[in-house]
């Protein structure tokens, strides 16, 4: 046993990990900016970069600052009313799903937990369908995201009650409980749709919404999604130390002073808000919450204080790029966004599952 070494570097933040963090953001931030611009610039109608910048400048900056604008009305509509909101929605949906993934993975102590795979996604769909069927969505635009969050919360409570015993969640049980809950809630959503198919207008609305994707997303969708995603991320950022300790096990967390029950309640609510907000505007988009946290964890490590914001930012960018790919790879048709993310995330999911069963965890 050596004596106390006062000259030690600060124990938990080594200079190396600080450098790694700066490098990560040094790479990521330009990519974020470029992806956002590229996603606005590239599309079926060719619009020059300078026009794009002019429109955005004109809309964002105070009128006095902008020089004379040489943009046609059509270009302005395409850029500002079609592409920009779509890209922003994609960004917040991706950020929300990735952050939800981080929270769920800590809550279930399992890197395979993902919002659309273990139940809350289908729960949000059911909530959304209920808000259409009851006509609430017509009376208040807020009812759709709120009902989606409520549905996600319900699904999480069911899955948690089924899969977790004494603070331990075995992978197999978690996935089975998730599949069962998803199937049940999905069936209920389809049942509601079938019963209401006679009301063609509502049925059409529901079908379009359930298909998911990001086409024809407007500024309304931005306002329905972004504030909740920001709220959810802020709430989870306040709980990163609880998340870290919960990730080591509920008993360990409790012995170090975490009020486990209230913390879990708050985190479940947070995950439901994030998932509900994303599903409400984009439907079920799988694997983002699995893929992104996993990749970021490989680079930055599992500490949630760094993992959470980095995953949210990466998730947003990832989905913007996936959406760009989905609508440009096979023109003039758009590939559904969920297909692109599943093609990226499916193989990783299988790989992680195999690895867990071989006893090597993340």
């Amino acid at each position: 046993m050596s004596a106390v070494a006062q000259s030690n570097p600060v124990a938990n933040v080594s200079p190396r990990s600080r450098l790694r963090l700066s490098l990560f953001y040094g790479f990521l931030l330009p990519i974020v900016l470029l992806s956002l611009l590229a996603a606005v610039a590239i599309g079926s109608t060719h619009i020059s970069w300078s026009t794009i910048l002019q429109v955005i400048e004109f809309k964002i900056l105070p009128q006095a600052w902008t020089s004379s604008v040489h943009v046609t009305k059509a270009e302005e509509v395409i850029v500002w009313l079609i592409r920009v909101p779509r890209v922003i929605v994609a960004f917040f949906v991706g950020a929300g799903l990735a952050a939800a993934g981080v929270v769920l993975q800590a809550l279930f102590r399992n890197p395979l937990a993902e919002p659309t795979l273990i139940g809350p996604g289908e729960g949000a769909v059911l909530g959304g369908v209920i808000s259409f069927v009851t006509g609430w969505s017509a009376t208040s635009v807020l009812s759709l995201p709120l009902m989606a969050m409520l549905g996600a919360l319900l699904a999480l409570l069911i899955v948690y009650a089924m899969a977790t015993r004494g603070g331990v969640t075995p992978v197999a049980t978690l996935l089975l409980a998730g599949v069962a809950t998803s199937a049940l809630l999905g069936a209920l959503a389809s049942l509601l749709l079938s019963v209401n198919i006679v009301n063609w207008q509502i049925a059409q609305e529901i079908v379009f919404w359930m298909m998911g994707g990001l086409d024809a997303r407007t500024w309304t969708h931005v306002w329905l999604c972004a504030p909740f995603v920001v709220l959810g991320i802020a709430a989870s950022l306040l709980q990163t130390r609880d998340l870290d300790l919960l990730q080591l096990g509920e008993e360990t967390a409790a012995s170090f002073g975490v009020d486990v029950e209230s913390s879990k309640r708050l985190l479940t609510l947070t995950a439901a808000i994030l998932t509900g907000a994303a599903v409400a505007v984009a439907g079920l988009i799988g694997f983002v919450g699995l893929l992104v946290p996993h990749a970021v964890r490989l680079i930055l490590g599992p500490s949630n204080r760094t993992l959470l914001p980095a995953s949210a930012l990466t998730g947003g960018t990832f989905l913007v790029l996936c959406d760009l790919l989905a609508r440009t790879i096979h023109p003039p048709t758009e590939i559904r966004l969920g297909i692109v993310t599943a093609l990226c995330g499916g193989p990783l999911f299988i790989y992680l599952l195999l690895r867990q069963y071989r006893g090597v965890a993340n």
Binding site: V4, A11, L238, D259
Partner: protein, 244 residues
């Protein structure tokens, strides 16, 4: 340093969890300084009593530094950043347990002995009065087991109350000053080794014959033999323990 001993299911782990305030007793009360344990706030309890669980499976690649920093949870507010006091506690615990060189390593890449030292260091980071360890030497080879026990003993000499639940009382005898023997959730005996671990008691509680061999160090070493078991014709085993 106190050892909690007893056969499987005798309530060693349960007692540790009750002492750590992780579980609430169904009947009666656990007291610290005359005050019921469950009346302490969760964080206050965590600052006073550190609990080192048995065999912690950690699936995520936290670094040792991050693991140690988590020990300061109960000392920090939700919004307060890590202070010099926190750093000092982390650094001195790491130095004390001789794991300073492991600070940047991922916890799931360590050997069993290193890992146990890290978990003990994390309990020191808390700066508790009581340290409770559940089977700290399980899964360790003899060298690392002694190493860990030595560490525990030095902590108790520093004025911490150290309680170790263990199966291997031969191993801990040299280090502990007090033994508590449990069976079926009941206290059977309590005190020094010669008061607690008589041949008769060992046979009644553990259902084995024990022979005490005196050593130069003063402590005896126990050697165990199975109690002769009477097997019936169909192969089932007659209840041992009533042989005499």
């Amino acid at each position: 340093m106190t050892a909690l001993i007893g056969p499987n299911g005798s309530g060693k782990s349960t007692l540790l969890r009750l002492l750590a305030g992780l579980w609430r007793p169904e009947n009666g009360e656990m007291l610290i300084d005359g005050k019921a344990i469950h009346s302490f706030a969760r964080k206050e309890m965590a600052r006073r009593v550190a609990f080192v669980p048995q065999e912690t499976q950690i699936d995520f690649a936290f670094t040792v530094g991050e693991i140690l920093a988590m020990g300061r949870y109960a000392h920090r507010g939700r919004f307060s950043p890590q202070t010099q006091v926190d750093h000092a506690a982390i650094n001195s615990a790491a130095a004390y347990c001789d794991i300073t060189h492991l600070i940047g390593r991922a916890i799931n890449t360590l050997s069993g002995g290193e890992r146990q030292r890290v978990l003990i260091a994390r309990s020191l980071v808390v700066e508790p009065e009581f340290i409770l360890l559940d089977e700290p030497t399980a899964n360790l080879d003899i060298h690392h087991a002694l190493d860990v026990l030595q560490l525990c003993e030095s902590l108790s000499r520093q004025g911490k109350t150290v309680i170790v639940a263990t199966h291997d009382f031969n191993l801990v005898l040299r280090y502990v000053t007090r033994l508590i023997l449990l069976q079926g959730g009941l206290l059977i005996a309590e005190g020094r080794q010669e008061e607690v671990l008589g041949r008769q008691t060992i046979q009644e509680v553990f259902h084995v014959e024990a022979e005490m061999i005196p050593m130069k160090t003063g402590q005896p070493v126990y050697v165990f033999y199975p109690v002769p078991v009477a097997r019936t014709q169909n192969g089932s085993v007659a209840e041992p323990g009533n042989m005499d």
